[in-house]
Symmetry: C2
Subunit: 504 residues, 2 copies
């Protein structure tokens, strides 16, 4: 019953399972059967932790984290590639910073959320903590290197000891993808480019219809003043307004009046404003609004927004932009325009509505920021899972198949020829693999072309090319093989593009 006894039992199980595997191998049993039994053996060994001189494997990721398997990596890399190509189209550089910072560097930067920072144990030397976002490390980098002008993106994981709802795509370790423009520039020029970039990225990611909501810190301040909100209540009333994307106005109104002791008349006046959304017309109308007109901040905010929309028009994205007076996120920090991209159909989805659920942009002093979080991958992943199309996890273009035993060296030469021609090629690592298992591998991993050799092909100095999907086969002289493979790959990829276009 004690640990030692159960360990001995496990060791005995492993011994027996090991014998079973050896016996199957000697009997040359079915590959799948051997594989299954080996898997059992490895699992037992893992329970014991019986790697030479090693401890027990705990078969679990830490809470709030996950592994990315090859399918998920394939989706993630595809999304990164798209996003990065957009950043690069706009001339961005990239930097990287360590995963941990001096604890002092992070101290006092996150208010109440500081309790969510992962600290490293004091093992002597400096006190360290894992980065909570990419902004503070970036600010440290700028200050340390005395940089005042930069346009950079940074894609990296950040860490928060939160209690995240992982089913809603929230994690303790998750990616942030920040794009920042730092420098002293003229009004709305970087802002408009940020909105353009967001539109480009969301369009290229093909996530579905979306809109970029815009608002302005100064307009909100002016609006609150115009509605009779006392100065010291701006922040708290602002955070009530921020809930409007998830809550009905009546509930927000009650919170303002009952909890935050706002005069009901002021709340009602706010109510008439925050319902408004539109474009240039709305801005023009508000510029003539008797109450707002008197507020300098409101007028400045509206003039900025007017200019922003004009620039968005020049950038051909006006139809994607919606001026929305209820957008009030994160106003503590931001001094100018705030933007938020919202996918249609996700607007009231809690996973999209979370803090990390949007693409947020904002201007803060001489600093413009776009931030993406993990939700992009969640959406792409769930879409891939729900579609019937298998996500490929390799780029392999050709699998070299031997038609019968005794062809390992011929296969190796062939692979070498293909690798040297930069054709992505695999073969079986078995000396004498079965034909069927080779073809099955091609099909299950989506490899488009099989190059088949047998003794008759070798004699004639040809190879057989098989299109895996259609099973068409052609014989090709060996010296034309590489060219034929290239043109076949080009043709298959063209067909796929056409099918996708006609299918959508």
């Amino acid at each position: 019953m004690d640990g030692d006894t159960s360990r001995e039992k496990l060791q005995e199980q492993i011994r027996l399972q090991g014998e079973r595997v050896r016996k199957l191998k000697i009997e040359k049993a079915e590959a799948q059967q051997v594989k299954d039994e080996v898997a059992k053996l490895l699992e037992l060994k893992a329970q014991l932790g019986d790697d030479p001189g090693k401890g027990k494997f705990v078969l679990k990721c830490p809470k709030g984290t996950k592994d990315y398997n090859p399918e998920q990596m394939s989706i993630r890399e595809g999304a990164f590639k798209t996003i990065i190509s957009c950043f690069k189209r706009h001339g961005a550089e990239t930097i990287d910073t360590p995963v941990f910072e001096l604890r002092e560097t992070l101290k006092g930067k996150y208010g109440e959320d500081s309790k969510l920072i992962y600290d490293l144990q004091d093992q002597g030397g400096e006190l360290l903590s894992l980065r909570y976002d990419l902004t503070v490390p970036f600010a440290r980098y700028l200050a340390m290197n005395k940089i005042t002008n930069i346009k950079r993106y940074h894609i990296a994981k950040v860490y928060r000891r939160d209690n995240p709802a992982m089913t809603r795509g929230r994690f303790r370790e998750f990616y942030q993808c920040d794009f920042d423009i730092a420098g002293q520039y003229d009004a709305m020029i970087p802002d408009a480019e940020c909105v353009k970039l967001v539109v480009e990225i969301l369009t290229k990611l093909e996530l579905g219809d979306f809109v970029v909501k815009v608002n302005h810190r100064k307009l909100l301040d002016g609006m609150f003043a115009a509605c009779g909100v006392p100065d010291d209540k701006f922040r708290t009333i602002c955070s009530s307004v921020d809930k409007l994307d998830k809550t009905f106005w009546d509930d927000v109104r009650s919170e303002m009046i009952d909890e935050k002791k706002l005069d009901p008349a002021a709340a009602d006046r706010i109510g008439t404003y925050v319902k408004l959304k539109g474009g240039l017309d709305l801005i023009e109308a508000l510029l003539t609004d008797e109450d707002l007109k008197k507020q300098k901040a409101a007028v400045e905010g509206l003039e900025d927004l007017k200019l922003l929309l004009k620039y968005c028009d020049l950038f051909g994205i006006l139809d994607k932009v919606s001026f929305d007076l209820s957008l009030a996120r994160g106003l503590d920090y931001y001094t100018g325009v705030i933007y938020e991209a919202v996918l249609q159909g996700f607007a009231h989805n809690p996973s999209a509505g979370s803090d990390e659920g949007e693409c947020q942009c904002r201007q803060c002093g001489w600093w413009w920021k776009i931030r993406w979080s993990g939700w992009v991958f969640s959406i792409l992943e769930s879409r891939a899972n729900s579609s019937n199309v298998k996500t490929r996890t390799t780029d392999t273009e050709v699998f070299v198949v031997s038609a019968h035993n005794g062809l390992l060296e011929a296969r190796m030469k062939l692979c070498n020829e293909l690798w040297d021609a930069d054709i992505k090629t695999e073969q079986s690592y078995k000396k004498n693999p079965k034909s069927l298992s080779q073809f099955q591998y091609c099909e299950s991993s989506g490899i488009p072309i099989a190059v088949i050799i047998g003794s008759s092909e070798l004699e004639k100095n040809i190879v057989k090319l098989r299109i895996v999907e259609t099973r068409e086969e052609v014989e090709v002289p060996r010296e034309k093989m590489v060219d034929e493979i290239r043109s076949t790959l080009a043709r298959l990829s063209q067909q796929k593009t056409q099918n996708n276009a006609s299918g959508s």
Copy 2:
């Protein structure tokens, strides 16, 4: 003298510096002067940590870590791209695991080096540690998902509380780049592909001449037995042999005899073997060696190596492979072939000779591994620094230049046209930038083409294309601009390739 007083002093300095900046702006001083003074202001503020409600910025990376600036990122990304394209050419998938693991998962896996593991502070919940390598997380992933067959690479940072010599390119946070083949396969087939991959990568990285040393665990065991080394001294004698790449034989011999109490005769016999290096001839000679012949392990090792070299020949890489009996690294863990790639001219360089200094491959049971570490980047970086060619940090192809004031909207339209045509384009974020500063920016950041507009160009519906390097200019009708830019870029890139080819 106390903290508060010096803080007050700093605040006064900041106030004065702020006034200076404001005054310069009002006076419309030189941009550079304003920039310098703003930088000073930011620096003072950073000292104070006077972000609203925030603490002090400590302007330092944690010990043993560094930021990657855009130049370094550009080099790193280039190297990753090369390495990954080689992995993908061989059909590899990729996975990712969290940066930390349950402390239990890492426990007992690293022997004495366990003290170098970074532990996270116990903040309630699970006990966590930062990953020390990518192998243990991979083993956990395989066991957790009951995977027995996979060919995957994983490029990620690992963490070691070492006292690294950063000047020699060693860090506490550094990249590992692992490629592993797991599965039950026939002898030497995956091994040969690993060697092929290493040769491909080192060739593509253009790091200079290199050789892949190979040896075999069983041969070493058999050799030690043949020399009369007692079984219980194999490990320690092996670790002496391992020093031969950095130490002379005489010193290694003394260590064996004086410290490790080996019979001098045995040491001398080892000495005759470990000097040997060669190819198939040497293997054949050793197979007839009277002492080795009697050792089953030695014969098995030699037969494996013979097969490996035959396969390497089929893969066209025999000239890069050197069978070397002094290669003895890490034999504790490995059961089969070990390989190590060594750059010529770096063989006795301590930075290349460190544990993390080579590309190591080895076979351990049903597991083949290639590992790269940060040294690749160190070499590439130092080469970039010593060459006169500036490393570009952006991919920008075109900069839109306005010849005079008042052209912001025209520039914006032009940029938009170029972005929508997928041409990587930048412009100034100033409303009225100076011509000179626009051209200087093109030159300093290596942008190949400037598209220049002025009122006369707008009237004639043309643009001027300038090749930044040669300052040639051509006028192009607006509707042909995109095509002309594409063909110019193609021409410039071709010229560059030719120049590089003729220059080397």
